[in-house]
């Protein structure tokens, strides 16, 4: 029996398995975009806006930098046993000029990455329990 896909964090990304987007907010007054969502007061000190609309962020961007975890991070990270090292990338989103960090999908090593490389957003398993498969955004070299 297959497990139910569940977002590992509520409202941070669309649950569209083929073309997922991170979900941010856009200030209706100054158009600045925030991720994770800013929903009460605009953080642009010249604005003062208090109304926001949900917005899908660019699915693609270019690598600003990258690294990996050679050892399992501490809780609350849920590490697989045995732990498999994985890469992490900081990607500058195309339109928003915002750097967003995320795990890189399995199989892509540090040696496969370089600054400026185009990456795209995918949803992948963060961890699983008996019934659910908890999904998180990850970066993957763009096709």
């Amino acid at each position: 029996m297959s497990k139910t896909p569940v977002a590992a964090v509520e409202g941070w990304f669309t649950m569209d398995l083929d073309t997922p987007h991170l979900l941010g907010t856009r200030c209706t007054r100054c158009s600045n975009v925030f991720f994770p969502k800013e929903e009460s007061y605009c953080r642009n000190p010249d604005c003062g806006g208090t109304e926001f609309e949900e917005t899908k962020l660019s699915r693609r961007g270019r690598i600003w930098s990258f690294t990996n975890n050679c050892y399992a991070p501490p809780e609350p990270f849920v590490a697989k046993e045995p732990f498999e090292p994985y890469s992490i990338a900081a990607v500058e989103l195309e339109a928003e000029k915002m750097i967003v960090i995320g795990q890189v999908t399995a199989g892509t090593q540090v040696a496969d990455l370089e600054a400026g490389m185009e990456m795209e957003l995918v949803l992948d398993t963060l961890y699983e329990d008996e019934e659910n498969q908890y999904l998180v955004w990850k970066w993957q070299p763009a096709a």
Binding site: C30, F66, N69, P73, P74, E75, P76, K97, A115
Partner: protein, 396 residues
């Protein structure tokens, strides 16, 4: 100058993994600083504590805990927490009290007892609105992950090499080997550094600072008081605790993302350089006037970023400084003569105070075995999580 205060005493408890209460470390450092100043505890009018968030009810909210352990004597008190900037915030608070004429003698104390291994979020339970909890949960973004991102960026942008990063570690370990307060009194070789296990590529275990127990304290007084009680002393002409200006487009712990750089004009000076700039402007000096610097080498590679941030060289030139030995004791502008975090490890509320202790010893000519000859002016720099800038200038 009207905005200066005097450092009459400094003291530290050696860094290590002693497994005792942070209060003990803080009191030891405080007593040493008072003895160094020749000032009685009962004459202290203001106690500024740098807080730890560990060790129970957040660091026993530090200021009063230290005052109680020294023996209640009725002093005014403050307690500051600004992550790695906690110590300099405590210094800033004490300085402001003195400059406002509210007191003449202030004691600044910070100390910590740390757990083993990675820093992880404190407190239990699922905290799905806390970015510090979520970064571990969703990405496994430990502190070394951010250090690794910054280090790799230097490699991609400026052609930095693993050897450059290792060289910083080797240099600082040589300095630290001459410092009785350092946790690791060992001078490492390039081979040893490069053979240590990879943690977050390109950073290896010996290039990432550990977590330590330790304590540091300084006694600050008004210039008037200092002139009455001493003939020659170090002063603080600047303390900077700036925050970033929007948008901050550098990825910072513990954030998932930066501000968007698409919508508004970028600030004239980015956050990190603004920390030192503010201090230089207060003191009316510039980076070319500095004789030494103590900066936050959370990783060996990050020290190279600091050379540029505090203006010791242009962006992209930091590797050359360490390759040429400019930042070693005996070089043009020695950096982290104490051994830095590489030799100490982080004892968060104490570290920014410890940086000032090192400057003071250097400016007095008391840094035996690691002395920068003829040093008159030095700067410290670091910053705490969530955007707490921290820089202190000391002069003699």
């Amino acid at each position: 100058m009207s905005n200066e205060v005097a450092i009459l005493g400094v003291g530290m408890h050696p860094w290590g993994k002693w497994g005792r209460s942070f209060v003990e470390y803080g009191v030891k450092a405080a007593k040493d600083a008072l003895a160094d100043a020749g000032i009685e505890w009962k004459d202290v009018q203001f106690v500024a504590g740098g807080d730890t968030i560990r060790n129970g009810y957040p660091g026993y909210v530090a200021g009063a805990t230290f005052a109680q352990a020294m023996g209640w004597q009725g002093a005014q008190v403050s307690s500051s927490y600004g992550a790695c900037a906690s110590g300099s915030q405590a210094i800033a608070t004490a300085r402001a009290q003195i400059l406002a004429g509210l007191c003449d003698v202030a004691l600044v104390v910070g100390a910590d007892t740390t757990p083993k291994g990675f820093f992880a979020p404190t407190g239990g339970g699922d905290r799905t609105r806390d970015p510090d909890w979520l970064r571990f949960r969703l990405v496994g973004a430990t502190n070394p992950v951010y250090f690794g991102l910054w280090a790799r960026r230097r490699m991609e942008l400026f052609g930095a090499t693993e050897q450059d990063f290792a060289k910083v570690k080797v240099k600082n370990s040589q300095h630290g080997a001459q410092n009785p307060n350092a946790r690791y009194p060992k001078a490492f070789s390039m081979e040893e550094v490069l053979a240590s296990p990879m943690v977050s590529d390109p950073l290896r275990l010996l290039q990432i600072c550990a977590t330590s127990d330790g304590g540091a304290a300084i006694v600050l007084t008004s210039m008037e008081y200092a002139r009455k009680h001493a003939t020659d002393f170090v002063t603080i002409p600047a303390v900077s605790n700036v925050t970033p200006k929007y948008p901050n487009t550098l990825i910072e712990m513990p954030n998932f993302s930066t501000d968007s750089g698409a919508g508004v004009q970028m600030p004239d000076v980015p956050f990190r350089p603004s920390i030192a700039k503010h201090a230089y402007e207060q003191a009316g000096v510039g980076p070319e006037d500095m004789d030494l610097a103590e900066v936050y080498d959370l990783s060996s590679a990050l020290e190279l970023d600091w050379y540029e941030i505090i203006g010791l060289c242009k962006e992209g030139e930091a590797e050359k400084l360490v390759r040429d030995g400019d930042t070693s004791v005996g070089g043009r502008i020695p950096v982290n003569t104490s051994g830095g975090l590489g030799a100490f490890g982080e004892a968060i509320p104490a570290q920014a105070i410890a940086q000032v202790c090192e400057l003071t010893w250097q400016l007095r000519g008391q840094a035996q075995g690691r002395q920068v000859e003829g040093a008159h002016l030095g700067i410290t720099a670091n910053y705490g999580l969530f955007g707490h800038g921290s820089s202190v200038i000391a002069k003699r």
